[in-house]
């Protein structure tokens, strides 16, 4: 275990210089703490992956026969959707964890220390990103085992995985706001689901949008999960993907740009 903060210079006397150099070091310290938490609770990681594995198997073998997508095998169509669905549902743990830290008074301790204000949020979202890397690798293995055969080149597939992780990271900031606004972790969890479910299911993740009623198509075509799934699908199936990738990146950057400042200001005011 390395000590990220250890490489930094000792605090200098003035306020501004005291706060500045620790933005990175403090975030890494918090990430270290959150990663230790994940490692000490491996069952959380297991539950986080069991559910998507069941989804893969269910969609592949139960619904897969009934869903027909022209031009591609259903499992190749499905896997990008499963990736995105997995990390989207996983991202609510960012909010749940923050709500728990608030509830247990840990946030009070952090806020009473001379540390960077952004660190608790940046550190947690980074730790959740690392966790997602493991989850996505596992999903790749499961997908390959049930017959997923991506047609894209290796760089395209890596880019697709990168988009999935980037999207997960952006949603962590959205759910950080939910977590900081909730009274406790149960509330954070309960408040997150109604946001997640329509985004994931009324999207291009599992079925073509053209199979939905018209009014739903409007929503499904203009929401981030569809945008990310479309880009990842284009990349992993192989073929032209530039415009989809651009749209996906725009969503990711946009969500972070809006949610991160709100989350940080909520954190500063959280009680």
């Amino acid at each position: 275990m390395s000590a990220p903060a250890a490489t930094l210079a000792p605090p200098s006397p003035t306020v501004t210089r005291l706060a500045r150099p620790h933005v990175v070091g403090d975030a890494l310290t918090i990430a270290w703490r959150n990663l230790l938490n994940i490692r000490r609770n491996p069952q959380l990681l297991v539950f986080a992956t069991i559910q998507p594995v069941i989804f893969v198997l269910m969609f592949r073998y139960v619904f897969g026969g009934a869903i027909h997508v022209t031009g591609v095998s259903y499992v190749d169509y499905l896997m990008p959707g499963i990736f995105v669905q997995t990390v989207v549902f996983g991202s609510l743990t960012t909010g749940v964890g923050l709500a728990e830290d608030l509830q247990k008074g840990l946030v009070d301790r952090f806020r009473s220390l001379p540390m960077a204000r952004s660190a608790v949020l940046v550190g947690r979202t980074l730790a959740d990103l690392v966790r997602n890397v493991f989850v996505v690798i596992l999903m790749c293995v499961v997908g390959l085992a049930v017959g997923w055969r991506p047609g894209g080149s290796l760089p395209e597939i890596v880019a697709g995985v990168g988009l999935v992780l980037g999207f997960a990271y952006s949603l962590s900031w959205l759910f950080a706001i939910v977590g900081l606004s909730a009274r406790d972790s149960e509330t954070a969890q309960a408040a997150s689901f109604p946001i997640l479910a329509p985004l994931v299911f009324a999207s291009s993740a599992f079925v073509p949008i053209s199979s939905m009623p018209g009014w739903l198509q409007v929503f499904a075509n203009h929401q981030p999960v569809s945008a990310i799934v479309n880009a990842v699908r284009a990349l992993t199936l192989g073929g032209a993907a530039a415009s989809q990738v651009f749209a996906a990146l725009a969503w990711i950057v946009g969500i972070v740009a809006i949610c991160a400042p709100i989350a940080v200001s909520r954190y500063r005011r959280a009680v």
Partner: protein, 321 residues
């Protein structure tokens, strides 16, 4: 600034409300450097609110809060570098070991790595947690958590320490143990603001006591000043009904300062044993047979009855027999 150094902690006319809940209504007090102030009051008095304002967690609606001469709302970062806080509930990471919890605080206060390790070891030793250093906190007892929580507030050796109800929820043994650690700390020159619901605790640890109730300071002084005001001992006589209590109250006025509280009569006296004897004689002569009779130290409840005429709405576990 010149002349006399500013007090380590200074609260001037603090106000804080949430809607029509007025947590603080003009609270002022000072804690001179190197001394201990006990902020004594029942649940909901505003103790935690005052501590949260002084530790930069909350902005007051009005008034100023200073630590070591710094305005805490204007210079929160510098304030944080010189304070330690152990809140009302132990703020620990359950999935980290005791040592890791201390290292976490050490890193976030930007101590050099070698010093973090040294500090962690010496604090674990001092708080009798050395054997549990590498155990996950989720396996700790309440007393161990409390001690570790106080230790965590000390990692960066802050000159000013805030402990919010450090012993609430602990059993007698845990409480006595923690008191000993706190006394040791104070001996080393740390300025301490301690909140508590127990007069006994404030009496034992604090140089001065500020009593607050419903967001206002209602009394202040040393423990002995407060007790002198109250009488050093309380005789409490309880009856089966109000009528007997009233009759006893009428007879016992000569023994000491007397309060009638429902079916109980409390007499504050300076010298316990002779007063007890006299009470027994009087009651016997009047054929007033009490249900229970006890001689005890004054509690927060007595301070409150005396100061406000109403009982403290504090946890009663300590008070009732």
């Amino acid at each position: 600034m010149s002349g006399t150094p500013p007090p380590a902690i200074r609260a001037v006319d603090l106000y804080k409300s949430w809607g029509d809940v007025h947590a603080l209504i003009g609270v002022s007090f000072e804690v001179p450097t190197g001394t201990v102030l006990g902020l004594l009051g029942p649940n909901g008095a505003g103790k935690t609110t005052a501590v949260r304002i002084l530790t930069t967690l909350l902005k007051p609606d009005r008034g100023t809060a200073e630590v070591l001469g710094l305005d805490v709302t204007r210079e929160p970062m510098r304030t944080r570098a010189s304070i330690g806080l152990a809140g009302q509930y132990a703020a620990l990471d359950e999935n980290l070991t005791a040592r890791e919890n201390l290292r976490l605080v050490g890193r976030l206060t930007h101590l050099p790595p070698a010093r973090i390790l040294r500090q962690a070891d010496s604090l674990l030793e001092r708080f009798a947690l050395a054997d549990a250093s590498d155990r996950l906190v989720r396996t700790f007892s309440g007393g161990m958590r409390r001690r570790l929580d106080v230790a965590a507030a000390l990692v960066h050796e802050p000159p000013v320490l805030f402990l919010d109800e450090p012993t609430t929820g602990l059993d007698i043994e845990g409480r006595t143990e923690l008191w000993a650690f706190i006394e040791e700390l104070v001996g080393a020159g740390t300025t301490l603001l301690l909140t508590t619901q127990y007069l006994e605790e404030a009496d034992r640890l604090a140089d001065r006591i500020v009593v607050i109730d419903h967001g206002r300071v209602i009394a202040e002084g040393t423990a002995s000043e407060l007790k002198a005001h109250l009488g050093a001992t309380v005789i409490e006589v309880a009856f089966d009904d109000h009528e007997h209590a009233r009759r006893a109250a009428a007879e016992l006025g000569g023994v000491g300062e007397l309060t009638l509280d429902g079916k109980a009569v409390r007499v504050n006296v300076v010298d316990g044993a002779p007063a007890m004897l006299e009470t027994v004689r009087i009651l016997d002569a009047e054929h007033l047979e009490p249900r229970t009779m006890a001689l005890r130290e004054p509690t927060l409840d007595d301070v409150f009855l005396e100061l406000t005429g109403h009982a403290a709405e504090a946890d009663r576990e300590e008070v009732s027999p």
